[in-house]
Amino acid sequence: MSEKAKILAVAAVLVVFAFIIPHSNSFVVLLATRALVFAILAMSVDILLGFAGMASLGQAAYFSVGAYLTAILATKYQFGLGWDFWLVVLLAMLLGAATAAFFGLFAVRATGVYFLMITLALGQCVWGLAYRWQSLTNGDNGINVSTRPNFGLDLNNERTFFFLVFAFFTVTLLALYVLARSPFGRSLEGIRERELRMRVLGYNTWLHKYIAFIIAGAVGGLSGVLWAFTNGLVSPDTVVLTTSVDALLMVVLGGAGTLVGGAIGSAIVFGLREYLSTLVPWWQYVLGGIYVLTILYLPMGLMGLPARLRQWREASAERQKLAPAGS
């Protein structure tokens, strides 16, 4: 019942979201699209952090591999601007997965802070490539992707594009949810809780983590494709460490291990950064304050808020029950 209720709640929010946003002005639509793309990236981080317990600081690598692939194909070969868009999506996911498969060989054997450092270093390698490989990536200037695909559906329309990204988000959410509930997802959780015990039980924990890493890479590649077309600019800025950190913070903010938590985190970060920043110059303090308060009081992230509230309510009810007896 509880599980069903959660699913219903998320579905309701998604429907409301899909209904409200297209009726807002085009900047809000664009902002929501950007937030959704990052929500997909955040979910890929969540697979690692929330289920396998691996905090990755290199997720921007797969994101940018997807984004650069899209941008290069679109500008140099005019490829991916029609029906072949779907081919690009597939290619980017494959390339993201392949990159992750390669990086995973180095990273997955490490745990804790070492895993953090290795993924960070590998992510910076991709940044270095993007910055230095001038002939391919156009260096610091980046690549401008001026048109979006048009395959009957004209994605140059902000609202149409929003719905496409929204659809990608929903499908990814569903797919990852199914994955998380599968025996594979369960054994990942087992690894997160106690890897040694899982190994004793006969699970190949390294392989489980390696596969999770590759899946996260593929999802990262997908978000990269969408980002290239959302933003219209792919530059080393896209690959920079802050992108990885942002994605990680979004997950922590929303609640790791919940999948939708990343989406909530992404909505808040984008809302504050792109919206509050236009109203007040001290928006960074607000964002910082929210991070600090969340980590202090809501270790499960914002998704843990209802449980936390219930806890407080029960605790205070308990106290009230005790109070008359004491007096």
Binding site: I21, S24, N25, G232, Y275, P281, P306
Partner: protein, 421 residues
């Protein structure tokens, strides 16, 4: 259980809608006002630059009671944090949300290359007051019909500097420039003119953008050079000469103007005295217009205006005159750009007009850092004293438009370093 559902739903709803709720309110509709967006790096490593830009524009507005060319101005300043990605997002916000008539700014050349396509896509005027990316008003101009530049291309003041350095009898130069488009184009302009006149660039060093420690680079500078060409941006500008002199290198420096921006000079020790740089502005210009600007800026903000301030002050002046030509109304992007390019204005930096590729033609000043007393001050201070003026310099220098456009845009590899070993 129902209460649990509702509480979960409402929490999630609240969180998701939080960021967008304010966006649903329709933008306040006001008639007869000129909406201008200013994209400036208020936070991040270029924050000092961003502040100067905003101050420059604001000063002109305040001097004219917030009215440009008869239209009431609604100035909306947005923070780009010095990143092209963020600048694109904010530019789109300005156009889609605030319905600005034009957006101005962007600092880095890479930001310029990122913003110009936005102007084409959204059919909105983009005035680049700082971002100097050469190709926007050269080989790529046709792609950007709503783009105009009010200050410079990166290579514009560096062509005369190359000529000047050669005229001083320097034969071998080492180039140390920031590793991105602006660095390539500035250094390229210098190298082209310097080598065409008979000089040789014997080494090129490219420290990354945002670099603050030149320790690893200075020892590699070849000792048989007789001049250093330096091009630094932001916090690297005061750092480079300091570390260079501390390391005991005594070679003279000729530099791109951003390396010796006027607002930096008071904080620099005596080490920079004697260094030469080229730019289309100096706070030490002794024309009535320039002195009045420096005095007004200093009394309001308590510091000397650098070129970032002057560029935006003058941009405001250009908008003022262009709007006045259409009788106090924004005449639509096409007509507005026509008004702009036909301007001949008397700016703080000197006379400015436009070429047929929407780029300014203006004076370039060779400036030497000297301790002197200006503006009736009581104490001497460091100033960029003008030692030579090249009048009416355009982006093609003496090469001619057609011939210049046949060569590729200046890059890390062009002009090739023929004399490097």
């Amino acid at each position: 259980m129902t209460s649990k559902i509702t509480s979960r739903t409402s929490v999630a709803l609240l969180a998701i809608c939080l960021g967008f709720a304010t966006g649903l309110a329709p933008a306040a509709a006001a008639q007869q006002e000129l909406r201008i967006g200013l994209l400036s790096p208020i936070t991040g490593f270029l924050s000092q630059t961003g502040q100067d830009m905003t101050h420059g524009f604001q000063l002109y507005l305040d001097q004219h009671n917030g009215i440009l060319g008869g239209a009431k101005v609604n100035l909306i300043v947005e923070d780009t944090t010095g990143k092209p990605d963020e600048a694109v997002a904010k530019a789109k916000k300005l156009v889609l949300q605030n319905h600005v008539d034009m957006f101005i700014g962007g600092v880095l050349a890479s930001t310029g290359y990122a913003l110009a396509p936005v102007s084409t896509e959204l059919k909105t005027v983009y005035i680049s007051s700082i971002a100097a990316a050469d190709d926007l008003t050269q080989r790529q101009l046709s792609k950007y019909p709503y783009f105009i530049r009010t200050t410079w291309t990166s290579s514009l003041p560096n062509h005369p500097l190359g000529q000047w350095a050669c005229d001083q009898g320097y034969k071998k130069a080492v180039v140390i420039a920031t590793d991105y488009a602006f660095g390539y184009e500035s250094a390229g302009g210098f190298q082209k003119a310097f080598e065409d006149c008979g000089g040789k660039v014997i080494q090129k060093i490219w420290p990354p953008l945002g670099n603050k420690d030149f320790g690893p680079f200075i020892p590699t500078i070849k000792s048989d050079a007789d001049v250093i060409y330096s091009l630094q941006v932001g916090p690297a500008a005061p750092q480079f000469p300091k570390q260079l002199r501390e390391a005991g290198v005594k070679l003279p420096i000729v530099a791109g103007g951003t390396s010796y921006d006027d607002y930096n000079l008071p904080y620099d020790s005596q080490v920079v005295a004697g260094d030469v740089s080229a730019l289309m502005y100096s706070a030490a210009l002794q024309t009535p217009k320039a002195e009045a600007f420096v005095k007004a800026f200093r009394s309001k903000y308590g510091q000397i205006p650098g070129y970032y301030a002057e560029a935006n002050y003058t941009t405001a002046q250009m908008i003022d005159e262009a709007i006045a030509k259409s009788g106090g109304k924004f005449p639509g992007p096409e007509q507005f750009l026509q008004n702009m390019v036909s301007l001949k204005i008397d700016a703080a930096r000197g006379p400015v007009s436009f070429d047929d590729m929407r780029n300014p033609i203006e004076n370039v000043y060779i400036r030497k850092v000297e301790k002197t007393t200006l503006l009736g001050d009581s104490k001497p201070a460091l100033w960029n004293v003008v030692i030579k003026t090249y009048p009416n310099v355009g982006q093609f220098w003496t090469y001619g438009k057609d011939k210049f456009l046949q060569q590729p845009v200046y890059s890390r590899d062009f002009p090739p370093c023929k004399y490097c070993e």
